[in-house]
Symmetry: C2
Subunit: 455 residues, 2 copies
């Protein structure tokens, strides 16, 4: 590739590979191109991570839930805990970022800070944390609670949780380890601080028992899109995953989120917006459509109905598949994923879908945008959103794995590279460097030495 | 080696490598043979794991605490969270078992079950859990508590914790995954069960969101030696780490623990007793003694005093190093590590040690037995304890790393192999197979089908 086609001055997009079981389509595991027998086989995920790295993607990402649903009857669910898995993937990759989901509702900040700091050391600065508040009562029931904590309180807890975790990450100064064998002084304990946190949800004395990690703070990722979710993101998140169906919606989300940053003393570059996209790729448009159709044909309606019931907070079992949706609650009455509820309800309303049609539409991306086409067509869509103020990059959700990721890396990435929209080589070593985000200063040091005015 | 020297019928001993920072000696990090700058370097631990595997050891093990002590001023403390680390070690080893410490006092059974099940899948059946109740108020302070839960209650919580975890591991039958693409049935949900646990400490609905793992249950290891600790071990543990100073004490502990098994319907073979030993190895006895002396000379007295204060539940700061110990409390008043308190107090009393002498004696093994000598002499000691009813194997605690482990593997292991006491090749693939322990039946299935009388 000639230098002329690789401009280095303009904005580049960011790509995250969202890896899941046999793929994102709910019928993927039934498709002959998938390998559902390998969803508890480490080699499977190592190969996926290596494929993503071959494509020079910024990161890979694993979602997480803390309960198993009855839906496992009809889908290849149930797999690895993400942090344990990512640690094993760190050893077979060199550059790609490793983002794990951990819920602030059912964990303790000390453990969470420590595990991410460990992964950041293990991976040489490639750890990222997708901060979620968890959306279902099934999860609460695995942690001694009959009710799920209220949406607003979950975000309140999440705020305090992140405050504690970042303080723990800062509890060692970068140069606290002196390693003075002669004098017998390993660490300068004046540079290792207790955090003495006492709040509404947590009491954590500190310091952390892991030295400050390569990135200082592992990358903070978030994916809530409700009002509370956006406020949280504006304050803490450095990358945001979001489900958006139309360019207009994505633009308005993008603009809204970016406009909230200033009030937290942050600039627009400090947060990257990554809408999800499920690319159904064919070498011709007809081939892509055929694949999409094939996957839809493999859907198990009971599965789709159960998933839809969860998303809409409404039991749909027994309703005629070819009929319309029943009356739905309001977003304010949803204690799960509020923004997804609204997205799905609007999608059904807007396009006048029957239950069966809605299930088909949600099959590939559970509400994320599905784009069916050739590599060029998919690249066009990404380029449009990227250049039209709707995205800083994308959360790539292959409908089937490993093939859907391979197709993306081998056929879509080169188009983006040719257009100068995507890196052809890694230029950084850490996840922060890939996303163009700075290594955070140590807030505790700053406070102690009075050099910044951070309140 | 001729077949005659490799009898396969008699008892073989088991060896676990207890890996820690720059080594177990508290001055190891100051010794020129160690690499304290690498305690947050994954490659360092990968090499240690590979060395242990080269020696055909049964397992490697990482201890864990949930707080950092001021002692980091004088020792290379603060490193990786063990499960995150072991997952990254699983990928560069093939046979060796991987034992991580997780506290039942500051964790949730759902997370713990899941992480170990994940590691067991990732490693192909090599995960083990060292179940601890945590011994210090510093740890409680990182989890919102000002007081440390009382010793007896910690074990009560540990019991319920292990019950829940093992039920979660059994919540999927081994053959629950049907993977019937044709019919669209991934898992037989009749073979994936809720556990519906509601107890004094935990409420966990289940099922786990990870299929049953290669070992069924990751190996259960424990290291408490108080009365409550022994009762707990007799009921649940399959391998027990213990600190014993004399053959007589080790024999009495061994006999006592084995005698408690029958009342839980278990046989003596179901639990392996592994006393700790810190081998200070030299090619001559004089060389070994010189190394021991060298390490003692490198000790920082403040560090030893702080550690001793913790073990004895008594603040010793300011006391003359060359004077005797002050009046000590009784074991019943110790809310930390009861058995270690008694061991150390007795050691000092028995040998009439000054504080400085006691600190020197505890330098290598913190109360574990230190054996100084040639490879033959060390093998003799292991053989004696193994054949005289004091041990089923040993927890090897190299005073310095990586050299102390290499010396053990290269010089002591071959002696044990020549004597027919230790394997020359791995014969199994899983940690359970190395320790000669069966894969547990699924208790939930048994109960459901009424085929066993398990109460
Ligand atoms: C791409 C993406 C990935 C997500 N991954 C998870 C996840 O792994 N676990 C989870 O509990 N929620 C996950 N969520 C849900 C969000 O964290 C959040 O709970 C949800 O968007 C609802 O937030 P809201 O109520 O603020 O809209 C994800 C959302 C998106 C868009
Ligand atoms: C070899 C060995 C390793 C241990 N590792 C840990 C550990 O990693 N974390 C911990 O909190 N306690 C650890 N302990 C302490 C024991 O788990 C237990 O708390 C201690 O022996 C006190 O139990 P007791 O009061 O029943 O005697 C260890 C003990 C031994 C002998």
């Amino acid at each position: 590739m000639s230098p002329a086609t690789r401009p280095t001055t303009h904005r580049r997009l960011h790509l995250n590979a969202f890896l899941m079981n046999a793929g994102h389509h709910d019928a993927a595991w039934r498709h002959p191109r998938t390998q559902p027998e390998r969803v508890t086989d480490l080699r499977y995920f190592q190969q996926l991570a290596q494929t993503a790295e071959r494509g020079r993607l910024d990161s890979i990402f694993f979602a997480d839930g803390l309960a198993l649903w009855g839906k496992v009857r009809h889908n290849a669910l149930g797999g690895f805990e993400p942090l344990t898995l990512l640690s094993a993937l760190a050893t077979v990759t060199e550059h790609i970022g490793l983002i794990a989901t951990v819920s602030t509702t059912f964990n303790e900040p000390f453990h969470t800070a420590r595990k991410f700091a460990s992964l950041d050391h293990i991976s040489g600065g490639r750890a990222g944390w997708n901060i979620v508040t968890s959306g279902t009562v099934n999860e609460a029931r695995n942690f001694g609670q009959d009710q799920h904590l209220e949406h607003r309180l979950r975000y309140e807890r999440a705020r305090e949780f992140v405050e504690v975790v970042t303080k723990l990450w800062d509890s060692w100064e970068d140069d606290a380890i002196l390693l003075d064998r002669e004098r017998g002084v390993y660490a300068d304990t004046d540079r290792v601080r207790e955090i003495g946190h006492r709040g509404a949800y947590f009491g954590v004395q500190g310091p952390l028992n892991v030295p400050r990690s390569p990135q200082g703070h592992p990358l903070l990722v978030q994916a809530g899109s409700s009002e509370d979710g956006r406020e949280f993101a504006a304050e803490y998140a450095e990358a945001v995953f979001t489900a958006q169906q139309t360019l207009a919606d994505a633009q308005s989300f993008y603009k809204d989120l970016k406009s909230r940053l200033a009030q937290h003393g942050r600039s627009e570059e400090d947060l990257k917006v990554l809408p999800g996209i499920c690319p159904v790729i064919g070498s011709t448009e007809a081939e892509a459509r055929a694949l999409d159709h094939e996957l839809t044909e493999l859907q198990v309606p009971e599965y789709g109905l159960a998933q839809l019931s969860g998303m809409l907070g409404t039991d749909l079992t027994g309703l005629p598949l070819d009929g319309p949706l029943p009356e739905l609650p309001e977003e304010r009455d949803i204690n799960g994923n509020k923004s997804r509820f609204t997205l799905v309800a609007e999608l059904a309303r807007r396009d006048g879908l029957t239950l069966r049609q809605l299930i088909a539409r949600l099959g590939g991306g559970r509400g994320h945008r599905v784009v069916v086409g050739t590599p060029e067509q998919i690249a066009d869509q990404l380029q449009e959103w990227f250049t039209q103020g709707a995205a800083d990059g994308f959360n790539i959700m292959p409908p089937h794995l490993p093939g859907g990721l391979e197709d993306f890396v081998d056929h879509v990435v080169p188009v983006l590279q040719r257009r100068g929209l995507f890196r052809t080589e890694y230029t950084g070593r850490t996840l922060r460097e890939h996303y163009g985000l700075p290594r955070p200063a140590n807030r505790l040091t700053a406070t102690a030495s009075g050099t910044t005015g951070a309140a």
